[in-house]
């Protein structure tokens, strides 16, 4: 018999209780069990960053965690940021600076950057590149993503 483990966790402010197989990857749980498909899967070995989420306040890779390991934790995914009509400042900055093309890597970048800008209000270009170094993008050459992070930092400073 397949072992099932009960887990409790909060995702984007909603509390969920689910029974899952221990081997279920957190990325698959979020996408297919909770139907939050904004989190993407690009490599399943922890290197591309497309699956980045914020878990208990820190950006992490959801493809190299089991869902059972997230029992008791609080998760934010891209769906927590903004809606198409009311984008989060980081999302706005991405749009205004053309920091996305195919958009597949974008949710991972957004979660990395939201986490990063929380602790670093006014990063330099070089610091930004280091902060996004663990997220892969094939379309933008990262050029406009760096610009978007700078703009987002300004927007967030203005908001606060």
């Amino acid at each position: 018999m397949t072992q099932l483990v009960k887990i409790n966790l909060t995702v984007n402010g909603v509390q969920y209780e689910r029974e899952v197989e221990p081997r279920l990857l957190l990325s698959d749980f979020i996408r297919h069990d909770l139907h939050l498909t904004g989190t993407h899967v690009g490599c399943e070995h922890g290197l591309c960053g497309a699956c980045t989420i914020i878990l208990d306040g820190q950006s992490v890779r959801s493809c190299i965690m089991f869902a059972v390991m997230a029992d008791g934790s609080t998760i934010e995914t891209v769906e927590s940021l903004g809606t198409p009509d009311h984008l989060h400042p980081v999302q706005e900055a991405f749009m205004e600076k053309h920091a996305l093309q195919c958009g597949f890597c974008t949710p991972g970048f957004l979660m990395t950057i939201v986490d990063y800008l929380g602790d670093n209000k006014n990063p330099t270009d070089e610091e930004i590149r280091e902060a996004i170094d663990g997220n892969f993008c094939r379309c933008t050459g990262y050029e406009n993503i760096v610009e978007a992070v700078k703009l987002a930092a300004q927007k967030m400073a203005a908001h606060s």
């Binding site: 081997r23 820190q58 890779r61 190299i64 089991f66 059972v68 990063y116």
Partner: protein, 291 residues
């Protein structure tokens, strides 16, 4: 790329975890941060039949000062917690400097200090750091415990002295002598990537700036991290002159490491990098210790 099925245990205490490991024997495998294990499982390279997940064992995650002035780090302490610990940063800046080279922040948020040590990847920073700092490993099994020196803990690539029933519970970093400083240098293809060659040096100077003690660890250029014997032999009691450091670097590269050829570099290149890096890290460590 989905992992094969496994039995899952989620103990809440260290005692429960040790009981699980005892019960499971060879079929049990500890799940710490999972940042190396889970990718391997996703590739189905690793197929443990049972996992003992330590993530709920709160008592294994801590940083405590020791009576001697060092630090005791619980095995489940996340890499980034150690990296950003103010007290460790102040007393042992080489720790944060070294951990900063582990992959990317997202990995350091989940990876654990003890997990990396027990994984014993020859290209990993934490085993080298433990060797550099002459760390002591607290190994527990149900009903007993033992201490193992960092230099004896790792016996080969991905191999440690841990028996299946045992758990690396704590790593103790002894205090550093006054006027001690370290320096980390590596060559990797990309930032956050595996080192093709790496060196960490730790130098203690006396009042007259003569070398009182030096530890120079190489890694990713052999089966395990390597502590250079020659560096201490040549430098201790002497001035760390440019010539002396160059001599050490050349000797270490020639005689004390054993890099292989892989997709990213030839053995010859990696050996040459050892010479470059040993020179650079010793030079920087000495300069820092003088400050």
């Amino acid at each position: 790329m989905k992992p094969a099925p496994f039995e899952y245990y989620a103990p809440k205490t260290a005692e429960e975890a040790l009981q699980n490991l005892t019960d499971l024997g060879y079929s049990g495998k500890v799940l710490a941060g999972g940042q190396s294990l889970i990718p391997a499982m996703n590739f189905r390279m690793a197929r443990p039949s049972a996992l003992v997940d330590l993530n709920k064992v709160a008592e294994l995650a801590y940083i405590k000062p020791t009576a001697e002035g060092g630090f005791a780090i619980g095995t489940m302490t996340r890499d980034n917690v150690v990296e950003h610990d103010a007290s460790i940063r102040q007393k042992m800046p080489i720790v944060a400097e070294t951990i900063g080279y582990i992959a990317h922040p997202q990995i350091r948020a989940r990876g654990t200090f003890g997990g990396a040590e027990a994984h014993a990847d020859p290209a990993a920073q934490i085993p080298a750091l433990c060797m550099l700092l002459n760390a002591k490993m607290l190994v527990k099994r149900k009903g007993s415990e033992r201490w193992v020196n960092a230099e004896d803990f790792i016996v080969g690539p991905f191999m440690t002295v841990l028996e299946p029933e045992e758990l690396l519970a704590e790593v103790v970093l002894p205090p550093l002598a006054p006027r001690t400083a370290g320096s980390y240098k590596q060559v990797s293809r990309q930032r956050g990537g595996y080192a093709q060659a790496a060196t960490i040096s730790l130098v203690s100077l006396d009042d007259r700036n003569k070398v009182k003690d030096v530890r120079c660890v190489l890694f990713s250029v052999g089966e395990t991290p390597i502590l250079s014997k020659y560096a201490a032999k040549v430098l201790v009691g002497n001035d760390a002159t440019t010539e002396a450091i160059a001599d050490v670097a050349a000797y270490v590269a020639k005689n004390e490491c054993d890099p292989g050829t892989d997709l990213h570099g030839t053995a010859e290149y990696r050996r040459q990098m050892v010479e470059v890096l040993v020179g650079r890290s010793l030079t920087e460590a000495v300069a820092r210790a003088k400050k």
